[in-house]
Amino acid sequence: MTRRIAVVAAGLSDPSSTRMLADKLVQAVFAELDARGIEREARVFELRDVAHDITNNLLTGFAPKDLAEVNEYVANADALIAVTPIFSTSYSGLFKSWLDVLDREAIEGTPVLLGATAGTARHSLAIDYAMRPLFTYLHAEPVSTGVFAASSDWGAEADQVAPLQKRIDRAAGELADRLTGSTGVEKVDPFAPEAYLGGGSSFEDLLTNLPSRG
């Protein structure tokens, strides 16, 4: 079964280092999956392309067509690679706005590879103090290695001890491990009676199982 990987990059310029990191991550994950003999496909989405849609969704409560397509692919994907620039010590506002309009259940149980970019390596912990709690809240399953790329990682001043590619490969291996042997994330249809009736078969189950007064 082909594993589907959604890649979401929140970089604002074109080309952006955030997109470059996303591309390197997906290449590495592909290589790891290929080595394990697992078929894979990926789609890369840049939030810049749907930035107006995200704002409109915030204002109207529904996703215009292009954004709906992104969100549908993400919700049905077996894994997510999420990469954001770090602005003012955290994920970008656009990245958060996108997650704010994504269906709350969309990435429940989905393995996620976290990536971030910024001007200097001093922001590298933002993956762990900002991004990771957000994905935990959404009940996604971020792998333990997040990949942070500072501007210097793209040039001669790069980290020689733990070079970017090494960190990418480690994270990609972790994500590939999650996808190996798993049969993919089982998505529950919220409109299936067994889902919203809490396993019951009749509305009477809702009548008799009312929670106690809050």
Partner: protein, 404 residues
Amino acid sequence: MNDNNTTWQGMQFGLMSVSDITRNPITGETPSEAQRIRDAVTIAKHAEEAGLDVFAIGEHHNPPFFSSSPTTLLAAIAAQTERLLVSTSTTLITTNDPVKIAEDYAMLQHVSEGRMDLMMGRGNTGPVYPWFGKDIRQGLPLAIENYQLLHRLWREDVVDFEGKFRTALNGFTSTPRPLDDVAPFVWHGSIRTPEIAEQAAYYGDGFFANNIFWPKEHYQRLINLYRQRYAHYGHGAPEQAIVGLGGQAFMAKKSQDAIDQFRPYFNAAPVYGNGPSMEDFTEMTPLTVGSPQQVIDRYAAMRDHFGDYQRQLFLVDHAGLPLKMVLEQIDFLGQDVVPVLRRELQKNRPSNVPDAPTHAALVKAKYGDKEPRQPRPNANRGDNVTGGSPYQDTESSFGSAANK
């Protein structure tokens, strides 16, 4: 108007109002509450004159809305009309006491002589819950339990009730009993909650999707679910479920005039202003801004997506539109749009699809040709608490309280 059109009972057409008091973006003036309430009565009366069937009003408990007391307004409208059916869009089943809903709407049913029904909803204003002593996280359980009680209060003379959210009732009789002892018809309105579609299906009630502000696909899956579950609970085939839809339109004889006239109101509207362009919004949602023919085309096609349905309501009095423009919109609906929709939607409608719900039809279904029950209370001896029925036509000397 074609008489054949108005005699067709299959569908009801009308208006639904949010009751917003919105600044007119062109004049800069905001109507007073007094003005807007007077206008609501004028709008409803005009709807009847124009040949529409229904006027529904929302319920809100905060400015800039005026409709905190829908039954008072609807009673006034019913008193000034002959034929118009008054309804709600919606009545808050979460924060209102179901006992008070039972009493208020039974009263409305009497004074309107059956020209009413109502729609249950959970509301969209968070603080309303704490203002009424409720917890918004319990919104759905409240809707489920409260409606269960409301349903019983209209069908049982004496109710014993113990629930999670409300003071227990022992030997309680909701008065007046419903007109002809037939409970008002109930719609359940929801835009995203499958449990509410399930609830409507379980009771065999109507289901209403407001069908405005969002793409119609959002509502399609709820209505499909409601139809399937309606059949599951044995009320009939899926196509026999009772479906209502909202809609939104602004018209002028020439399409471009409609666009030019409506744009300033659209751009400043609280719901979608500063969001998508009017062109994008009209493409993505059922809002149609154009000629009456464009509105006819858009809404005649709704049944292709939702199945044959029973009620179509339009939102026309919002976003600061002045009364004169609202009345013009009602004229377009009454003269140009609804007569054609009635004609078109009658065509190829399967014979097993039920007509729109009316009090007369519910009475007929319950009693056939027999006289409806007219409850007359006994002299006040507290019978319903001490054991006997409070009504003369009920023989039992043991009320439900006595069985405890």
